[in-house]
């Protein structure tokens, strides 16, 4: 965990007072809504369909038990008793009153969290692998660099009024659990000749013009991280398009001037600043590292007797096989908490659940919780011997559904139930699909399948990179849904392909089920995953069946 010091605390307190003044000016009429908008956005406050929404930043998805309790308290005191975890490791509160926002923010600031830069045309929360610091396949904890980026980007004077929003993701593992290729900048930490550095990927993103990011530098030595980011951001700030909001992301700039020319401009800018004040010498990196308190893992053996015994229980065994992943420390494990109960809104957690999870984190997980981009939570460090008891207690609060990575582990945007941009609802579609695949044995038989739903073309539900992606479209005031197949969000990221005309709401769940049945019939063996089958077979067999009843 990153431990905030006096400087971080002073900054947050000043920020809360700054926002309090802005809210007072809005309430008094000194600011109109148009003038207030960029100020509230920069503090994570949106005006949604029914109310103001506060998006709280969870830096690189890491929460302490104390911070999670503070989120629960905000949900209870200022909202309707729940919060919604997002695909960018943040949490949203949907029903906060404007006049109470400064108090809610002050409560959060006391535990070092805030809504700064969760919206607006600035550098957003840097996201990373929810298994950071725990995964056996990482070369270093990427959160160290995410924190360095957080500090550099916080109220960056030059990059707070960019052409459009800017999202950075970083991973240090051999598996991409942060979707770095669909970010404005993706950073992959790796080693070359004994040195640590980054592959820098630019111009990825979903939305109405989806692109997979392109590598502009294979290896950037780590001491140059910030100067290189500054060079990319400056090139974008000065030359990115501002004439059309839909063409203002860096992906369009890269696409229009071409990767080679874009790279040339960035490298030229970087040459001028690379040895300047942003250079990260070991001392600067160590200073941030010193603020990270890494848990002192107990000396334990893998596969303790208590675990072996508990695995005789089929319920526990099913959960264990689904949500428990190997940890780098012997005798430990990584545990995913599914926020996708059958029939529930994806990513929601009640205040009571959050409090209970905080307590369990303290008892069984070294006090640490992560948010994953799939809208689930993770306990990164659990003692294997505690898994049986943890399972019972997670199950008791409804976050032990063994559907992680399966068809009912749906990523969904808030859709028309909340969002002022949406064309269609998406949560009810997610709920209906989840209910259709409620049978755990059948879901396990289907295996790994990512189903993502967006309620409009802005693609907040990442439908482009779902193995099955669903996009809501409005046709003469009726809700229709397009289906795309074959998308992936990992290192081998690709965009799904549209299979045909949009389907009315009443038929979408059946169509999804027929696509899944087609896979079950055509797969070469249970070890051929859905995505592998789509890649082998192409769209045609799925397309045919999806529209079979019509």
């Amino acid at each position: 965990m990153y431990v905030h010091d006096e400087f971080d605390r002073a900054f947050l307190a000043e920020r809360v007072e700054d926002f309090r003044g802005q809210v007072a000016r809005r309430l008094s009429g000194a600011l109109n809504e148009e003038e207030f908008k960029p100020l509230r956005l920069m503090n994570g406050v949106y005006l949604q369909l029914h109310a103001y929404m506060l998006r709280v930043c969870i830096p690189y998805g890491t929460l302490s038990a104390t911070q999670l309790r503070a989120l629960a308290a905000v949900a209870r005191k200022y909202d309707r008793g729940y919060g919604h975890f997002t695909t960018r490791q943040n949490i949203q509160f949907n029903w906060i009153k404007l006049a109470e926002l400064p108090d809610a923010m002050a409560d959060l600031a006391k535990v070092g969290i805030h809504g700064i830069q969760t919206s607006g045309n600035c550098i957003r929360n840097t996201t990373t692998d929810p298994w950071a610091g725990a995964a056996p396949d990482e070369i270093e904890d990427p959160r160290l660099y995410a924190e360095i980026i957080r500090q550099w980007s916080t109220l960056h004077p030059e990059f707070t009024f960019l052409p459009r929003k800017f999202k950075i993701a970083i991973t240090a593992a051999t598996h991409d659990r942060a979707a770095i290729k669909v970010h404005d900048i993706g950073l992959r930490l790796h080693r070359r000749d004994g040195e640590t550095g980054f592959e820098v990927i630019v111009g990825g993103g979903l939305g109405r013009s989806p692109f997979i990011g392109k590598t502009i530098r294979d290896f950037l030595p780590k001491q140059h991280l910030l100067s290189y980011l500054e060079a990319v951001l400056r090139t974008y700030n000065l030359e990115g398009r501002r004439d059309n909001i839909y063409k203002a992301r860096i992906k369009i700039q890269v696409h229009e001037i071409g990767l080679e020319e874009f790279t040339r401009r960035v490298e030229a800018e970087w040459e001028a600043i690379r040895e300047g004040t942003l250079r990260l010498d070991e001392e600067a990196i160590d200073q941030v590292r010193a603020h990270f308190a890494t848990p002192a893992f107990d000396a334990l053996e893998d596969g303790p007797a208590a675990l072996a015994a508990a695995l005789q229980d089929p319920g526990f065994a099913l959960w264990h096989a689904n949500v428990v992943a190997p940890h780098k420390a012997p005798g430990h494990a990584i545990v995913t908490l599914s926020l996708k109960p059958i029939g529930g809104p994806p990513g929601d957690a009640t205040a009571d659940q959050m409090d209970a999870i905080a307590e369990l984190a303290e008892l069984y997980a070294y006090g640490e919780v992560r948010v994953a981009h799939e809208q689930n939570l993770t306990f990164p460090h659990v003692r294997q011997k505690d898994l049986p008891e943890l399972w019972r207690r997670l199950d008791a609060i409804g976050v032990a559904t063994p559907n992680v990575g399966l068809v009912s582990d749906i990523i969904s945007c808030p859709g028309l139930d909340y969002c002022s941009l949406a064309n269609t609802r998406s949560i009810p579609i997610a709920q209906a699909i989840s209910e259709r695949f409620a049978d755990g044995a059948r879901a396990a038989e289907i295996g790994r399948l990512h189903l993502n739903i967006s309620g409009c073309i802005n693609a907040c539900g990442h439908h482009h990179i779902g193995h099955i992606g669903i996009l809501g479209v409005d046709k003469k005031d009726e809700e229709f849904f397009q289906i795309v197949l074959g998308g992936k969000g990992n290192f081998k990221a690709r965009l799904g392909e549209l299979i045909g005309p949009a389907i009315p709401e009443s038929e979408i769940v059946d169509a999804v089920e027929r696509i899944v049945d087609t896979y079950l019939e055509l797969r070469t063996s249970p070890s051929e995953t859905f995505i592998a089958a789509v890649e082998r077979l192409g769209l045609d067999p799925f397309k045919e069946r999806a529209y079979a009843s019509r």
């Binding site: 900054f11 960029p38 045309n121 707070t160 000065l238 300047g276 942003l278």
Partner: protein, 171 residues
């Protein structure tokens, strides 16, 4: 338009001159086009010279003229258009410009600290703007995370200094 400099409203000695008008004596601001045109009147002008530089033009083009310039006015046509933040940093940090860098256009109090940190030292406020609020906005934060030409110590500097302070206290 009120001009805020060093935290106070000051009289503006500069006069903006149209491209086809003769240069009066004293401090003048001319357009980028006129500056780059090689107009002999500029060379002959004896007062302070300033240029109004659009945010769509590469600031490196001003460099040959910088020794002659007392002021560069950078524009915010809309507050959302943040190109001039980068231009100001380049002028200060790369090209070493020490004269006045003035923010013009849609200059809002909630941006003024970002502007100061980027290298602006003068702010042409829109009519009716509250100069006192601008001054307060400049002093709202004491903690900064990134190094810029304004020379304020960053959190990293403060942290490096912190153990030394503790040591002094112990002695």
């Amino acid at each position: 338009m009120p001009l805020v400099k060093s935290g106070a409203v000051t009289a503006d000695p500069f006069v903006t001159v149209a491209d086809d008008a003769p240069l009066p004596d004293g401090a003048v601001i001319v357009s980028a086009a006129r500056l780059l045109s090689g107009d002999p009147a500029l060379a002959a002008h004896r007062g302070p010279l300033g240029v109004a530089w659009p945010n769509s033009s590469d600031v490196s083009l001003i460099v040959p003229h910088l020794p002659r310039l007392a002021l560069v006015a950078l524009a915010f046509p809309k507050f959302r258009d943040g190109r001039a933040f980068s231009q100001a940093r380049l002028l200060r940090e790369r090209y070493g410009f020490r004269g006045e860098v003035r923010a013009t256009g849609n200059v809002l109090q909630d941006q003024v600290l970002f502007m100061a940190r980027s290298g602006f030292d003068a702010f042409a406020l829109e009519k009716g703007a509250d100069a006192a609020a601008f001054k307060a906005a400049l002093a709202r934060y004491s903690v900064f995370y990134q190094p810029t030409a304004d020379g304020r110590p960053t959190v990293r500097d403060l942290r490096s200094a912190a153990p030394a302070r503790t040591l002094e206290a112990a002695e």
